[in-house]
């Protein structure tokens, strides 16, 4: 079913304006034309009626005398004269009080119906329209009165034909003039609509340009006089001077004395009396276009500021992002509902997630339920109390354990908590250093204890050994007593050695420093054990740095270190393996690094931290005292050095032929660092010594 729609709704504005004004002009033009024509016609008819009435009244006044005198000739002359002299008069006649026609102007008989057609009862004049063969006739009846006495009537008939012709001619002229006026009006309307539409189209084009991003549009008319020309102004520092896009009353800070303070529209009240404004202010469309230009200029200014602010924000955001991504700490931001709003790269990497998988989620989506529940309560506590949380946690990994320092702080926006910032710093290395420090302190305490005990035992033990040796001289060989004494002596000597080792560990034994060749001391030890080791197919390989200068050290005690390490390696290998010794002078020539690697089964992760403890041994009972590495540790420390063990041993510490011998996960390497010049190691780390130590410590953590 077709529905009728108001057809002007979808027309262009120009068409609407044109059609609307055309309709107004048409309607009002025709109505006005009709009104004027009608007024003219009525006026014409009224004149016609007045004329007829006047003629009738005059005739009535003049007919009184002859009517009284029954002067028919004079009456006849009168009606003939009236008929002849009155324009469009059809007839005239006089009747007396008895309604007898005394005189008439008809040539052939009198139309008898005419008398009764207009015969009023009262004494007032009366007009009656008659329709007859000649056409429409206005019949005017006027009483002949003397002192209020009616002595007869006169009747005058005036044809309406001429009036009708005049009326028709007037109507045609009126219609023609009206149509001409309408046509002229339509032309004016068309021109006006075209002008308005053109200016609106210009505004629309400018709006489209703005939509496209071009804010340099000028929608107002450009054929204008400028303010500095009107005011004959030379003030080049005035913001309006030379500005052709915006009128001066739209600009703040203009320098004319009569200009008010502030900007548009506050200053407009002072501008209304300014000759520039009075001359240049346009109509509403011009004002709209100029306001549009002001809007575009202001918009451009705002957009410029926004663009600058956006770039600044982007730069700051990028900077912040870079900082967050670069920092190894785990950083995240949650809102008050504990939904993640942001997470840095370290955070994502730790949990092996993308940022998009974290943002918008909660701990329950990322952690185990138990962990998430614990986090939830912690976080809620912080959000409620506003107190930051700082704690250290150990996280068990697949191979080792890692320590984190967790810091959760509430994020405030003014006085309201809007989120929660989490930073988690990996402090595993710090923890290891702490443990090493504790371990070192423990070793030192142990050494001091062991040294004290050994020192106290050493004297009675010497006496026991001395007296045992004296008693041996009293018994002959082969006797039971001598055999028992020999057993006592043997055990006493073992005890003495133990005491000597304890004193060595506690560094209470003698310490003699002298300049020595490090490589030579190692070679001497190798030569001592090389043969013995070879019997079990354990081969020693060495790589000495010839640039190592002589160092200040106790040569004998260092040889004890090498011996302990080689024996440890030999014991670990058992048979069929390699021991690789390498010396290296650090680049800054203030440290020397000695590595002793073996192809043994390696040291377990749990044991690695305890190998330098006194009396710790993985060997079978009776095979070792558990003091070898402790003594080694003490000697190196006395020399201002440092000893570490890595297991499994990194490949680079092994010669290429040993790599084939090394089983996966096997091997141990001891890294000894000794100062070359001073008594302590330089603060600068030596890459060769620390790279794998740190890496190993991290991986083990």
């Amino acid at each position: 079913m077709l529905s009728w729609r108001w057809p002007f709704g979808r027309l262009r504005f120009r068409s609407k304006l044109g059609w609307g004004m055309a309709a107004i002009v048409l309607v009002f033009g025709l109505l006005l034309g009709h009104l004027l024509t009608d007024m003219a016609a009525h006026s014409l008819l009224e004149q016609h009626h007045k004329l007829g009435k006047t003629v009738a009244r005059n005739l009535a006044r003049r007919a009184a005398e002859p009517l009284l005198a029954t002067d028919l000739l004079r009456l006849e002359n009168m009606v003939d004269e009236v008929t002849a002299r009155t324009e469009n008069a059809e007839y005239a006649f006089v009747v007396d009080a008895a309604h007898q026609v005394l005189a008439h102007s008809f040539e052939r008989g009198f139309p008898v119906e005419l008398i009764a057609a207009n015969m009023p009862e009262d004494n007032r004049s009366h007009r009656q329209l008659l329709r007859s063969q000649p056409g429409l006739i206005d019949d005017f009846a006027a009483p002949v009165l003397i002192e209020g006495d009616r002595i007869g009537w006169v009747r005058v008939g005036v044809s309406r034909g001429a009036v009708s012709k005049t009326y028709t001619r007037l109507w045609m002229v009126g219609l023609g003039l009206t149509l001409a006026a309408i046509a002229f009006g339509l032309v004016l309307v068309s021109l006006f609509a075209r002008t308005v539409a053109r200016r609106l189209a210009r505004l629309r084009d400018c709006a489209e340009e703005i939509v496209k991003g071009n804010l340099d549009v000028v929608s107002s008319e450009d054929n204008r006089v400028n303010c500095w020309e009107i005011m004959d102004c030379q003030m080049g520092n005035c913001p309006a001077y030379g500005e052709k896009r915006l009128r001066c009353w739209y600009q703040a800070g203009t320098l004319c004395p009569q200009c008010g303070p502030g900007g548009y529209p506050d200053k407009l009240s002072s501008c209304r009396h300014c000759p520039v404004y009075r001359r240049c202010a346009g109509d509403e469309l011009q004002e709209l276009a100029e306001a549009f230009d002001v809007m575009a200029a202001t918009l451009k200014d705002y957009l410029g500021q926004i663009q600058t602010a956006r770039q600044d924000m982007a730069r700051q955001r990028q900077l912040l992002r870079t900082i967050l991504d670069v920092t190894p700490d785990l950083v995240s931001l949650q809102d008050v509902n504990l939904v993640y709003q942001a997470a840095n790269k370290a955070f994502c990497k730790y949990f092996n997630l993308e940022e998009k998988d974290i943002v918008g989620r909660t701990d329950f989506d990322i952690f185990s339920e138990a962990q998430a529940d614990q986090n939830y309560h912690e976080d809620k506590q912080i959000l409620v109390t506003g107190e930051a949380l700082s704690k250290e946690i150990a996280v068990a990994g697949e191979r080792n354990r890692r320590w984190f320092h967790i810091l959760k702080v509430p994020v405030y926006d003014r006085d309201r908590i809007t989120g929660l910032l989490l930073t988690a710093r990996d402090i595993t290395v710090v923890k290891q250093y702490q443990e090493q420090l504790v371990h070192s302190q423990k070793m030192e305490d142990l050494g001091r204890l062991a040294g004290g005990i050994a020192h106290e035992i050493n004297t009675p033990l010497g006496i026991i050994l001395g007296y045992t040796q004296l008693l041996l001289e009293d018994f002959e060989e082969g006797t039971q007593s001598r055999t028992d004494l020999e057993t006592i002596e043997k055990q006493a000597r073992i005890c003495r050695k133990l005491v000597a080792d304890l004193l060595g560990f506690s560094r209470q034994s003698g310490f003699t420093r002298a300049e020595m060749e490090l490589n030579d001391s190692i070679r001497e030890v190798i030569s001592l054990v090389e043969h013995t080791f070879s019997l079990n197919k354990v081969w020693i390989r060495s790589d000495f740095d010839a640039n190592i200068p002589p160092i200040e050290a106790d040569k004998e005690r260092l040889k004890q270190v090498w011996m302990n390490l080689f024996n440890n390696a030999f014991d670990a290998i058992g048979e069929d393996g390699f021991i690789f010794v390498r010396t290296k002078l650090c680049a800054h020539r203030r440290r020397v690094v000695i590595t002793v690697a073996d192809t043994g089964p390696g040291i377990g992760e749990d044991d690695l931290d305890k190998i330098f403890d006194p009396f710790f041994s993985t060997k079978p009972v009776g095979k070792g005292t558990g003091l070898g590495l402790s003594v080694t540790f003490g000697i190196i420390k006395d020399h201002g050095g440092r000893i570490n063990a890595l297991s499994p041993a990194p490949n680079e510490y092994m010669p290429s032929e040993m790599e084939e011998q090394i089983q996966i996960g096997a091997g141990t390497v001891f890294i000894i660092e000794l100062p070359v010049v001073d008594d302590v190691l330089p603060e600068d780390e030596c890459e060769e010594a620390t790279r794998h130590v740190v890496r190993s410590e991290q991986s083990s953590a």
């Binding site: 009728w4 729609r5 057809p7 002007f8 979808r10 027309l11 068409s15 059609w19 055309a22 309709a23 048409l26 309607v27 025709l30 109505l31 034309g33 009709h34 024509t37 009608d38 016609a41 009525h42 009184a64 005398e65 009284l68 005198a69 002067d71 028919l72 007898q100 026609v101 005394l102 008439h104 008809f106 052939r108 008989g109 009198f110 139309p111 008898v112 119906e113 005419l114 057609a117 207009n118 009656q128 329209l129 008659l130 329709r131 007859s132 063969q133 000649p134 429409l136 006739i137 003397i146 002192e147 006495d149 002595i151 009326y167 109507w171 219609l175 009206t178």
Partner: protein, 314 residues
């Protein structure tokens, strides 16, 4: 395109509506049809027999009607006689109608009465009392107030004179008698004109002098009161009055039955100014009262006529 067609349709509709309104708003009352072809030759019905009453037309017919219509009605009503007023156009016609017996009751000035009595046997039976309370009346000779050349009757010599009618008593004959007494004959005036007829002749004299057309004029006393609403009578100056003569007279034609005359005479004499009904009749007629009269009352008039050489043969 459809929108444009709809818009055009609406505009066309508006145009047609407006043109219709333009064309269709001729307001007119409904005409009465008259058949122009139904014609007849008209003939006046003869008037009923009645006594005719005529007022010597010193004024217009309309004034005559105004003055005497009520009186005629009164006579008809009181006497029961069929009386109607007739309107001779001039003094002369009045006299001629009297001569022909077409005027049964004549109300005329004493000069005309003297003529018709002398020549046609009319008989006076009543005369009026003027509004000034006198049973006589007189004429006035007037000129413009600013006419310095005329200060006395002697100054009228060689001047132009307009009079009412050759048969007017107060408007000519009385005045002519005065001029003769002062030695001025008709020939001493540069012109003697008479007011054009019909009717309204007294007023016309006053108007002619006021307009300056004539140097002097002669009217009966009382005329200036009649024309005071028409002209500024202060611009006129009364140069002289004529002697008093018997006033206007009612006369019956010769042969009218005495009984009829007696009825009419009594009715006229019965008019009493004190009576409200009669007062209106008398006021309109310009009388104070009507008193009995006889032919002998008009001897002074006849004497004047002989003096000025007017005989009853006019």
């Amino acid at each position: 395109m459809r929108t444009f067609r709809n818009a055009m349709s609406i505009m066309t509709f508006i145009l047609v509506l407006c043109l219709g309104a333009f064309a269709g708003c001729d307001t007119e009352d409904s005409p009465v049809h008259v058949d122009w072809d139904k014609r007849e030759e008209l003939r006046l019905e003869p008037q009923r027999e009645a006594l005719t009453y005529a007022y010597l037309p010193q004024y217009s017919h309309t004034v005559s009607y105004q003055r005497h219509n009520k009186l005629v009605e009164y006579l008809r009503r009181t006497t029961g006689l069929p009386i109607r007023q007739v309107y001779p156009d001039t003094f002369d016609e009045h006299i001629h109608m009297a001569a022909q017996g077409k005027i049964d009751i004549s109300f005329s000035n004493p000069m005309v009465y003297a003529m018709i009595a002398e020549q046609f046997g009319a008989r006076a039976f009543a005369r009026i009392v003027e509004p000034n309370g006198r049973a006589q009346f007189r004429g006035q000779i007037i000129c413009r107030r600013d006419n310095k050349a005329i200060t006395s009757l002697a100054d009228c010599r060689g001047k132009s004179w307009i009079a009412v009618d050759p048969y007017s008593a107060g408007g000519y004959l009385f005045d002519l008698g005065v001029f003769l007494e002062h030695g001025l004959t008709r020939e001493d005036f540069s012109e003697i004109a008479f007011a054009p007829g019909p009717g309204g002749k007294q007023e016309k004299v006053a108007l002619a002098v006021f307009a300056g057309r004539y140097d002097i004029g002669s009217i009966r006393e009382g005329t200036l009161d009649i024309v005071k609403d028409t002209i500024d009578v202060d611009q006129l100056r009364i140069l002289a009055h004529t002697p008093w003569y018997p006033g206007w007279v009612y006369a019956a034609r010769k042969g009218l039955p005495d009984k009829t005359i007696a009825k009419i005479r009594q009715a006229l004499l019965d008019l009493d100014l004190a009576h409200p009904r009669d007062q209106e009749i008398l006021d309109r007629a310009g009388f104070k009262a009507i008193i009995p009269s006889s032919d002998a009352d008009y001897e002074p008039v006849r004497a004047l006529m002989r003096t000025i050489g007017v005989e009853g043969d006019a």
